[in-house]
Amino acid sequence: MCVILIRSLMLYFLVIFAVRLMGKRQLGELQPTELVITILVSNIATLPIENVDIPLIVGVTPILALVCFEVLMSWAILKFPRLRRFISGSPKIIIRDGRLYPQMLRELRFSVDDLMMSLRNSGVFDIREVDYAIVETTGTVSVLKKADLDTPTRRDMKISADDSEPPQVVAADGQIVPEALHSAGLSAAQIENILSSVGIRLSDVFLMTADTGGSVFIADKYGGKPIIRRYGT
């Protein structure tokens, strides 16, 4: 039992290392090679855990080998576009200028139901709104709506917007985050002043964000209503 527990812990850390080595791409959409590696790694990792007759190295070696091959393959795909097309394929247009391409759908083995589901997943419930639809190499569908049916932007409506950087987490779990103070343009003293002005102690803060536009968001640890303020008010 102890042996299985220790092996489980070791393989857990190994798989985390493997996923980190492959990079952040693994946490998002998967290319065909990445999907294969993910499935293989998860299956291989269970073998030495289930069967103590198998040496740990029999599980470690293929996991590391596959992950390293995947990293090298990713690098090679970046360097050689032809290899990229061979391994990952290329995106396919299935709707262009509002026209469907049934032949391309057949080639991709995309049924009408698959098409409509993909459009709905992209927030489009009426196919008449679609100008372009492209099946990506990951299998997802990217949709461009017709310009006159798309959501208007601030620019279209000539509405100006405050230009500010994204809010930073300046305090969390009752402690100030020193690295974020500079980006947010605040000092620790200013944060303390803001908190005392709204009647909250730093130790009671669950999450506090601030942006360079002068807005703060404060949520306490007790599930109270969040406070949204501007500095100095």
Partner: protein, 125 residues
């Protein structure tokens, strides 16, 4: 680029480690096979005491090899050879005349182990 370099280092390390272990296992197994041949010769000559001494030495060498090899080889395979090696001394001392069979079986198992750990066409496929 950092990940690519780390991956190359890991792959290279595994190739070196794999090659070294393969060479080591081959070398050790050849030694065991030579010892088995010696014991078989002694048994056929009727030199029971010398054969028993050689078998004891073989068992001791196998035991120390097994301790390290258990990290890289499946324990069920090593266990089979353990059982066979442990019975050799008994068979040499007994009058049943099963010693040559036991030695041949041990030879076959160790030979099979050596071949399976050598990266050739038949062992890979």
């Amino acid at each position: 680029m950092k990940r690519v370099k780390i991956s190359l280092v890991i792959l290279l390390s595994m190739v070196i480690f794999g090659t070294s272990t393969s060479v080591w296992i081959n070398k050790k197994c050849r030694g065991f096979l030579r010892s088995i041949s010696t014991i078989q010769e002694l048994v056929s000559q009727g030199s029971t005491d010398e054969a028993v001494a050689a078998a004891a030495e073989l068992e001791s060498d196998w035991s120390s090899f097994r301790t390290i090899a258990s990290v890289i080889l499946r324990s069920d395979r090593l266990g089979e050879i353990d059982r066979c090696a442990a019975g050799v001394i008994f068979e040499i001392n007994s009058d049943a005349g099963e010693a040559p069979t036991a030695l041949e079986e041990l030879r076959h198992m160790i030979s099979s182990l050596r071949k399976s750990e050598t990266p050739v066409f038949t062992s890979v496929f």
